[in-house]
Symmetry: C2
Subunit: 491 residues, 2 copies
């Protein structure tokens, strides 16, 4: 079928790129750095969206929608924000095309130049806080707990499907609070929501922590993050939640009257995850045969494939398969019955293995005779003949087991790849041989952080929330340190 | 509460604008022509999306996502398409900002000019058909039944919240077929899906028809539409579905091998509805007291408001209200219990009337004594005292009755405002005095159509699918005609 993949061993990066395309998740478009998310990839993203959205709503958030365009002047209002995003933004300068007078084709109409250029949003803090100014007068208007699902654009020079694209899809929560503590609690809450989603739906273990100053979001006082580890030993930031202090409220003059009538600036958070999570999902679980999708996010959790040699067998087998289909659906299991007569069973086996469907049922005349089916697991590639009796319960249990197994496997890998290092030689050696997270003492200065980055390409992924106090010396400068942080090379 | 509305009688247009803002549906942003969809408005849009999405999936469609940017050259490939959209598009010309050397602020970096300008999509036929070329080789790859939920931008000069905005949200279906008939069937099917949604969820009666050549989508061979009538006698196009023939397949060279091996161009459709439907919803049902939302789309179908004079009463009433809340929720009814102590009942009554919540339950100490509640309908502003026994069933029935009542009321108004006219004098008189749809003979020429438009501002809204053959003469030219078409002034 021409779908043989490069193996992870041969070339991890190539394996990933091939898999994303061959498994019909996404592909590059004719527009530089922009991807097309294909129906199968989008179906997984929709599952992610649905789960996240219900978690946001369960924690009191509502959805809204803000303009895609941001006037250039808005950006300049928050100094560190503009520094963070100005270098990589798409700028709209005109609002009309016209036919060239010399007949050479269609051109931008020079008479349709905008008075002020518009930026295609790379993130929406500025346009949203410009709006919140109108919504907030008193403490009664707070908190505002709003999320938006949207597309954003960051003009990246090197792009990779899902991991780094010029345009990507995401959600961005933007909340406004009366007190500093409430905003901090909100930022921490959303980090926990993300961690819960990553672990229980994506089956990806994550480390919760805060970013160092130099790795923080442009405009944040604190950035909380969840960090995951991919199969090649590189880290991936899977979600961030920012405590923005009063920075945006000050930049956009958003004040509220407290109960005592005193005016104060509003406290803010923002938090987001994106289609980048699709990349994390692929790179955490998939193997050299194709995707492995955790049951909780699989568009199809089970596929049924009929085995037959003639029309009579086809009919008998399909009849039985339809019964199984109904049984499983009535249990709320997402099942596809692929009864197409245009493809052979072997082709279908490969196809659904490549697509990462968690369980495959094959059923032929022999199975009907024996009152059984063949059940194959995608996660560990095992097969067994199981009885038709209680098949629905068996599958229900297996889906939970697979979900759990994927998480445990990823957790074991991750935990085996957190290495405590106590000298810079050790740091470099482990980084090059084993990869993963390096748990090391750091003197707390941006200068040391940058020098380590320049020498090794490793960055501080986070200061883990559960890092214990431990006196030591910085692996690089030898200066005193009170806790270990996690370094890694990262996506 | 300062929320008194201009009445429809006083100024229909002002009434609409005020209502959209005061009922927290949407507001203008700091970006010209772009709106902010506020949480309450967005919650209604989410309900619409959910219903439409499930209808699309039930008819075999899948969602996907295509880039927001379209290279300028793609537009030129389909001649009528570029004519239709070139005059109103946002053009990205640069990809970076920088600090001005003279310290005057942030400017567009002249060194970061794109080789080819990118258009922010006004619609996605071109980028999608450029992609379909890679997806389609043989009849086995067909049909492709794809939809996307997205934002689009059309640089409108005069904008109005929801009805006409520079950026709006929509869905656009793009399908590819092996035969002409299959594509036509698909375009008709989706018009019917839209009509079903409009009538059964939005409670808006619609007329199904086709557009005249001059009103067709740029690039379509046939445009099917559903046309609704607003309370001011103006028509509103609520959804369109286009049979695109082989135009885009030819422009983007998309061919497929049929079963017999012969190569042919692929047949196409596209279809869409947008946040414009929010405007139609408001203008069809709402009144001088505020919004009227049909139960099938109301984020809250019922609101419960406690009536009390002291803490003891408050506690007793809230206890009972919580029981009602649970009863109704277990029936799948969307209920809000507004137990806020910071607002008086009268304020709450006004608030939920303005927001169009279909049913309001008020419950006080007297009601508890009498084992009753007060039930108020938003649609006809009636109130009654009803027994607590069987309240859940009563409400369930009432919600259905209200949904039906809104439809019937709109249908009656619409039917009373379809007038057969047989001369141009009559045409002009009815148009100015009564408005609505004018059912008139037309000679079938774009020239007559344009002259009528220039003289009266009325356009041909559609050639109704159920128009019967009837010999007559064109109201304008006196030339022979075989069927009546519908004219109206339109949004």
């Amino acid at each position: 079928m021409g779908k043989h993949l490069t193996t992870r061993e041969e070339d991890y990066s190539k394996w990933y790129n091939e898999l994303v395309v061959k498994a019909d998740l996404a592909e590059n478009s004719g527009v530089r750095g922009c991807m097309v998310i294909k129906p199968y990839g989008y179906a997984i993203w929709e599952k992610m969206q649905a789960e996240l959205d219900s978690k946001f709503k369960a924690t009191g958030h509502e959805n809204a929608y803000f303009p895609i365009f941001i006037p250039k002047s808005y950006f300049s209002k928050e100094a560190s924000h503009v520094d963070g995003f100005a270098k990589e933004c798409a700028v709209v300068t005109h609002y009309r095309l016209k036919n060239a007078e010399d007949g050479s084709g269609i051109i931008v109409d020079p008479d349709a130049k905008l008075e002020e250029e518009l930026i295609v949003r790379p993130t929406s803090e500025t346009i949203i806080w410009d709006t919140y100014r109108k919504w907030i007068q008193s403490y009664r208007d707070l908190p505002i707990l709003v999320n938006q699902w949207a597309n954003v654009v960051r003009w990246e020079m090197r792009t990779r499907l899902f991991l780094r694209t010029t345009e990507f899809l995401w959600q961005e929560g933007h909340t406004a609070h009366a007190t500093k503590q409430e905003a901090i609690d909100e930022a921490e809450q959303m980090m926990n929501v993300y961690a819960d989603f990553a672990e229980n739906y994506m089956a990806i273990p994550v480390i919760k922590g805060t970013k160092t100053e130099s790795e923080r979001f442009a405009g944040a006082l604190e950035t909380y993050c969840i960090e995951a580890l991919m199969q090649d030993g590189k880290a991936l930031q899977a979600g961030t939640s920012h405590f923005l202090g009063q920075n945006f409220a000050k930049a956009f003059d958003v004040k509220f009257a407290a109960k005592d009538g005193k005016l104060d600036y509003v406290w803010a958070t923002s938090w987001g995850v994106s289609t980048r999570l699709m990349g994390a999902l692929v790179m955490t679980h998939s193997d050299d045969n194709g995707l492995v999708i955790p049951p909780n996010l699989a568009p199809n959790q089970v596929v049924i494939i009929p085995i037959y040699r003639n029309d009579e067998q086809y009919e008998a087998v399909c009849n039985e398969a339809e019964i199984i289909l109904k049984e499983l659906r009535s249990k709320g299991i997402r099942v596809k019955f692929d009864k197409r007569d245009t493809q052979k069973p072997g082709w279908k086996f490969n196809e659904y293995e490549l697509k990462g469907v968690p369980l495959r049922i094959a059923i032929g005349p022999k199975d009907i005779e024996n009152n059984s089916v063949e059940l194959a697991r995608r996660d560990n590639l095992t097969k067994e003949i199981v009885s038709r009796e209680g098949l629905d319960n068996k599958i229900d249990d297996l889906l939970k087991e697979i979900q759990n197994n994927l998480f445990e496997k990823a957790l074991k890998y991750r935990d085996e790849h957190i290495t405590e290092v106590n000298s810079f030689d050790e740091f470099k050696e482990i980084l090059e041989t084993k990869g993963g997270f390096l748990s090391a003492h750091w003197d707390g200065t941006p200068d040391t952080e940058e020098q380590i980055k320049n020498l090794t390409k490793a960055t501080i992924r986070c200061i883990p929330l559960d890092a214990k106090n431990e006196s030591g010396v910085c692996v690089f400068s030898g200066k005193p340190s009170e806790k270990r942080v996690l370094f890694a090379k990262a996506y």
